[in-house]
Symmetry: C2
Amino acid sequence: MKKKNRGFINKLKFDSKGLIPVVVQDWKDNTVLMVAYMNKAAVKRTLKSKKATYWSRSRNKFWVKGEQSGNIQKVKEIFFDCDGDCLLLKVDQVGKAACHTGYRTCFFTRVINKGKTNIKGKRIFDPKKVYKN
Amino acid sequence: MKKKNRGFINKLKFDSKGLIPVVVQDWKDNTVLMVAYMNKAAVKRTLKSKKATYWSRSRNKFWVKGEQSGNIQKVKEIFFDCDGDCLLLKVDQVGKAACHTGYRTCFFTRVINKGKTNIKGKRIFDPKKVYKN
């Protein structure tokens, strides 16, 4: 009997918690927007829906990025690395900001001299207005 | 007594193994070259030497990227994310290729239709010639 080909997902190495890190990049200018995690089911959901769907380690559930803010990530391209233990998503970031703090990228804190930091970039949205409870 | 300020490193969240993932990006065109891991000491070594220095999970030791191939990574900028659990390094990649397979980036495998993959990019160096034992 022919073995069912389940494709690239079987080449991926998930960690002891069943997760793989995902680097998320703007498909137009290559800005790294965030890093999140997927389990195997989240990878499948992302492939099917074309909307980036992660596994939230803090809430312990699936997390369709933008489900609350509307800032979804439309997946344009998916890559994995030579070891198969990391994914790279190129996305069209709706709303232009990926970070829940309102910045375009989660990586807005830059290390400068002597261990000090500064902020690179400006807030695109006000999180208090976007995340209402 | 004033508490000693040890800077941004104390804001970082290392995992249960003492590691933090590091996204490595070309400082000129923002290509994501690889993802590796650092422990606290590797972060300090990187800051001091300005050469990207990781913790090799497979060899269980410090790993100065390029120590064997000569393809070191000169660190231009360091960022960390809003959660403090991921670093982003912008580097000048000596030799133009970061991946030990000879490709510029470790993310040279692209997912296409039905779980199949293809290769994006070309080998820049022949690993057999670079890694001699």
